[in-house]
Symmetry: C2
Subunit: 119 residues, 2 copies
Amino acid sequence: MPVSKKEMSECPIDAMLSVIDGRWKGTILWRLSERPMRTSELRRSIPGITERMLIRHLQELVRDGILLRQAQRSIPPCVHYSISKYGWTLVPVLETICAWGRSHIKLKHSGSLPARSPK
Amino acid sequence: MPVSKKEMSECPIDAMLSVIDGRWKGTILWRLSERPMRTSELRRSIPGITERMLIRHLQELVRDGILLRQAQRSIPPCVHYSISKYGWTLVPVLETICAWGRSHIKLKHSGSLPARSPK
DNA sequence: AGTAGTACTGACAAAGTTGTCAGTACTACT
DNA sequence: AGTAGTACTGACAACTTTGTCAGTACTACT
């Protein structure tokens, strides 16, 4: 069950968005761009996310080659996730997105854009 | 009824994605970045889109300040959509996204990334 | 012995997004 | 007179994504 819909679009924008898209993917990448983390650590660092959704997103990001999954076969299990070499090529793009998003938020808060219809 | 979900996230990435996100928004912006178009023209230039969805996406993009809507009050009606000054600040970001997406598609097609699970 | 912790899956409900269909008011065409 | 075109709305079905809940197997702690 995919977390993002635009499975294999030919449009490059959609192809990129299919990797990023998903309720929590941006946040996950953001956290992991600081440092690799293990599953539970990541979960605690993202308020509101459930374990189920975290794991689904992680699995997709791993499938897309963005994240690396390193598991120690121990008990209790310990799995570390980190951004792969390929994943790092995505980070500058995210920074561009983020920069625009930041100024967009400012505009919205300053009220110079009409607020979106409530709910 | 919103076309995109992440209504007013504090995360800049989500704030930006909420503007872009929606099944057809990327394509719509792409078309309009070439030249302004009227509704029906736009619809015909995007295969697969329905009039209903086109109009919903257009309305959201107008609400977000990305597009400009210019209507002649004539019969039959004639409405032109174009990218606003603010919308143009988004275009370089889209180009960055697009560039990454293009190389991602290449990688997927060359098979060096595992294909996503079918359906 | 009971509780919490690890990383994860399956079944399913709740929300959210997209698509379908019909309808509006008026004109221009055959 | 019938048909097609314009831009758009409302109701609602279909599909996708997200969230909830329970359960797994095993250890470490009180």
